[in-house]
Point group: C3
C-alpha cells in the first residue's frame, strides 16, 4: 500500500516537519527501516538512531529535533505506531456469508454482513449483530446476544443467555458462561447450587485464549467496556470488572469480587472472593489481594501489601538465615556482657 | 410455577411455622423478596431483615422466632436455598434425540433418552448411558464409557478408554485423558514415555471449564465420587483424589499424588508429585504442599506449613526490613556497651 | 505380541546375560511381573526385588549381578523401559483417510497417508505433511504449514500462517497463534496493537492440553526442537524457547523472554518479560524469574534467587515471629545493661 506522508499524518493526527509528499509503503523498526518505510521513536533510548536510520519518515514526540529528516510529531508515538500498524496491515476481509455447514436455529436474528464459518452452532433465540465474525467450532448457546463487529476466534464457547457487546474479541478456547463454582454442604457431600445468572461483556472488551468466565449465581458476572483479559485467566461468578482494566495471563479473581476502572492485575495474580479493589489499583505479578483496596493502591506479595513494602521485605528475605545467626550471636554477646557487669557490680559492692 | 408452602416444606424437609396454604411462585433475596416469593436466612447477619421483609415465607434455622411470619424451619438453610432454587428453576428439558449432524461410530451402545447435539464425535466401542446429554463439539474417543445422567457441556474432550460415571457434569473446554507428562532423558533429548492408562471419573463429580486431567502412565488417574473441580485446574497422571473433595480454580496436582476424602485445595494451590495428602486436609489459597500431610491438616504457604504458623510468619514478613535495621542498631549498641565495660574494667584493675 | 529376549535386546541396544531365546509377551512392574513379562530396575531402591521377581527377564544397569536371571544390561534402564513400552504397545494405526465431514479448502497441499477426522477445518493455502493425523474439531487457519508425522489431538486451534514442524504432538484444547497481549494506552483506554507475527514450533515438540501460545507482534514466537510443554502453560508473544526444554504445567512466560536450551521451568513457575534465561537453567516450582539468568543457574522463589539460598530462607521463614520476639527481648536486655553501666559509671565518677 503506497501512501504519502501527508496522508499518514492525517491518520495519526500528527504534524509534519519535512516533505509531506514522501511516499511510504511499509513500517519497520528504526534499525532496519529503508527509504520506503516509516519508523517510530516511542522509547527515548532509541532516539540516538534518528540520525543514522534509513527510514523515509520518523514518527516521534513533539520535542524531537532532527534537521533534514522527515518527522511526524505526535503526542503519543507508541499509540501512533499501533495505529499505523493497523492501517498498513488491514485484517483480511471476512466473506460476510453463512456457511451451510454451520448449524443455526431457525429463529436466530442475524444482522447484515455476518460471517459464520463451518461447524459453528448457534442456538435458539440468539441475536447476532451486523459484521460479526464467528470462526469454526464456536458454540453460541440459546438466547445469547452478540453486538456489532464482534469477532469470535475458533472453539469459543458462549453458554446460554450471555450478553456480548460490540467490537468484542474473544480468543480461541475461551469459555464464557460456564457454571459458577457454588455448592452447599449436605453432610459430607456437596449439593450443586444452580447457577442461574449470566455473563455480560460490554463493548470493546478482549478476552484471551482459554480464559474461563463463570456465569453468576443469580444476576450477572460483568466485564465492563474496554477491559482486556489475557490467556488462561479465571473470572469466577458474580465478579464485576470496571472499564479499561487489564487482567494479565493466569490471574484469577474469586467469586463476587468487584474491581474498579483501570485496574491492572499482573500475571498469575489473584484476588480472594467478596472484596473490592478500587479504581486505578495495580496488583503486581503473583500478588494475591486478600482484603479491600482503596483507589490507586499499588500492591504486591501474597497476601498483598504496598508494593514498596513488598520490595523492601522481599530484598531482605534471602538475608533471613544470616539475620537468625546474627540474632543468636548478639544474644550470646549480651549474656557475656551481663556476666561481666555482674562481676563489676560485685567488685563494687565488696 | 405456583406451589404452596406445604409443598415447599415437604421438598425441603422443613417444619412450617405459619400458614401452610400460602402460595409461592418465586425465590428472591431477603431485601427484594415480595409476597409471592420465598426467601432465606442462612447467614445470621441477615436475621435483622426478618422483621421488615415483604417475603411470603422465610426459610430459616430451627431456633428462629418471628411471630406473624410464615417460616419454614430447616437444619441447613443454605442447603434448603440450593434445593429450592433448583426446584423453582428446573433446567430446560433436553430433546433426548441424536442429531443427524453428529458423527457416531456404528457400534456405540446408546442408552435411552440420550441427547447428542450437532458436531459431536463419538468413537468406536463407546457406551453411553441413559439420559446423557452431549453438547456440540464434544469429542468422545474410542472405547469411552459414560454413565447415566451425565452432562457434557460444549467442546469437552474425553480421550480413548476413559471411564466417566453417572450424573457427572463436565464444563466446556475441559480435557479428560490427555497424555501424562512423562519423558525419559535420552542424552540431552526427551524420549516420550507412552501413556497407556486411563482417567476414571466416578459418580457425581463435576469438572470445571478448561480443566485438564491427564491419563495415567499405566493404570488410572482417578477422581472419586462427589469431588468437584473448578476451572483451569491441572490434574497430572496417576493422581488419585478421594470422595467429596474440592479443587478450586487454577490449582495443580502433580503426578502420582494421592488425596484423601473431603480435601479442599483452594485457588492456585499446588501439590508436588508422589506425596499423600490425608482426608479432611485444607490447603489454603496459593499453598504449595511439598511433603505428606496427615489427616485433617490445615496448611498454607509455599512450601506449605501449618496455617496458623503461616499467618503469624506472613504478618511479620513486611517487618523484615525494620527487623534488619533493629538488628544492626542492637549490634552497634552492644559494641558500645562492650567498649564501656572494657573501660570500666580497666579503671578497676588500675 | 511374542518376541524373544534377543529381539528385545536389539531394540533396546542392550547386552543379554542369560537365555536369549526366552519369549516375552508383555511388560510389568517388578513386583507384579510374571514369567512372560519383561521388567525393569531403573531405580536402585527396587534392586532388592531382583532376586524374588517372577519376571522372565530384567532390564537393568550394566553393573547388576544376578546369577540365574535373564538380564538385559543397558546404560539407561529408564529410557529402555520407555522404548520397550512403546514397542510392546504400538499406538493404534490411523486410517490415513480424509473424512468427508471435514471442511478443507480446495488448495490445501495434502501429503500422503494423512488422517483427517470429521469436523476438522483446514483453511486456504495450508500444507499438510505425510502421515499427519488431525483429530475432530481441530482448526487449522489459512496458510498454516504442518510437518510430517505430526499428531493433533481433538479441539486444537492453530491460527493463520503458523509453522508446525515434524513429529510434533499437540494435545487437546491447545491454542497456537492467538494474538499477543499488546495494547497502547490511548488516554484511559487501550488501543489494540495488531499482532502480525506467527508461532513457529520446530520438530519433536510436544504441547500440553489447554496450553496457549501467542503469535508474535511482528516476527515469531518460537519453540525449538524437542521442547515439551505440559498442560495449561502460557507462552506470550515473541518468546523464544530453546531446544530440549521442559515447561511444566501452569508455568507462564511473559512477552519477549528468551530461554536457552535444556531449560526446565517447573510447575506454576513464571518469567517476566524481556529477560533472558540461559541454557541448562532450572526454575523451581512456583519460582518467578525477574531478571536475566546466566547459563546453568538453579533458582527458586518469587522473585527467584539461587535455590540453595531460597531453601535456607524459606526454612527460616516460619521462625520469623519468634525472631521478632527475640529481637524485642534483646533490645530490652540491652536497655537494662545500658542503665546498669550508667549506674556503675556514676559510682566511679563520684
Amino acid at each position: 500500500m503506497d501512501i504519502t506522508l501527508k496522508e499518514v499524518a492525517q491518520i495519526l493526527g500528527g504534524e509534519i516537519d519535512g516533505d509531506e509528499n514522501t511516499v511510504i509503503s511499509g513500517l519497520a523498526g528504526i534499525e532496519r527501516a529503508g527509504p520506503g518505510d516509516i519508523t517510530f521513536v516511542a522509547n527515548p533510548k532509541y532516539a540516538r538512531y534518528i540520525e543514522s536510520t534509513q527510514a523515509g519518515a520518523i514518527v516521534c514526540s513533539p520535542e524531537t529535533v532532527a534537521p533534514g529528516r522527515n518527522l511526524i510529531k505526535v503526542a503519543n508515538p507508541y499509540l501512533a505506531y499501533a495505529k499505523a500498524l493497523r492501517f498498513l496491515n488491514p485484517p483480511p476481509k471476512e466473506p460476510g456469508t453463512i456457511d451451510p455447514q454451520a448449524c443455526i436455529a431457525e429463529d436466530v436474528q442475524m444482522g447484515r454482513n455476518v460471517t459464520v464459518y463451518p461447524f459453528v452452532y448457534i442456538g435458539a433465540g440468539c441475536r447476532i449483530g451486523d459484521n460479526v465474525t464467528i470462526y469454526p467450532h464456536c458454540f453460541i448457546g440459546a438466547g445469547v446476544s452478540i453486538g456489532c463487529g464482534t469477532f469470535l476466534h475458533p472453539n469459543v464457547t458462549i453458554e446460554e443467555r450471555c450478553i456480548i457487546g460490540c467490537r468484542v474479541i474473544i480468543h480461541a478456547g475461551a469459555v464464557i458462561g460456564s457454571d459458577g463454582f457454588g455448592f452447599a454442604r449436605d453432610g459430607a457431600a456437596y449439593y450443586k447450587i444452580p447457577q442461574l445468572g449470566i455473563v455480560q461483556i460490554d463493548d470493546d472488551v478482549e478476552i484471551g485464549a482459554c480464559t474461563a468466565i463463570d456465569r453468576a449465581a443469580l444476576e450477572r458476572t460483568w466485564i465492563k467496556r474496554g477491559t482486556k483479559t489475557d490467556n488462561l485467566v479465571q473470572i469466577a461468578h458474580n465478579v464485576v470488572i470496571g472499564e479499561d482494566s487489564c487482567i494479565v495471563s493466569q490471574a484469577g479473581i474469586s467469586g463476587s469480587t468487584k474491581l474498579g476502572d483501570r485496574v491492572i492485575m499482573a500475571g498469575q495474580s489473584a484476588a480472594i472472593g467478596h472484596i473490592s479493589i478500587g479504581s486505578d489499583c495495580i496488583v503486581g505479578a503473583r500478588g494475591a489481594v486478600a482484603s479491600d483496596l482503596a483507589d490507586g493502591q499499588i500492591v504486591s506479595g501474597a497476601p498483598a501489601i504496598p508494593h514498596k513494602d513488598f520490595l523492601r521485605a522481599t530484598t531482605t528475605f534471602p538475608k533471613l538465615p544470616e539475620m537468625r545467626r546474627t540474632l543468636a550471636r548478639l544474644a550470646r554477646k549480651i549474656e557475656a556482657l551481663e556476666a561481666e557487669i555482674r562481676a563489676l557490680q560485685e567488685k563494687h559492692s565488696t
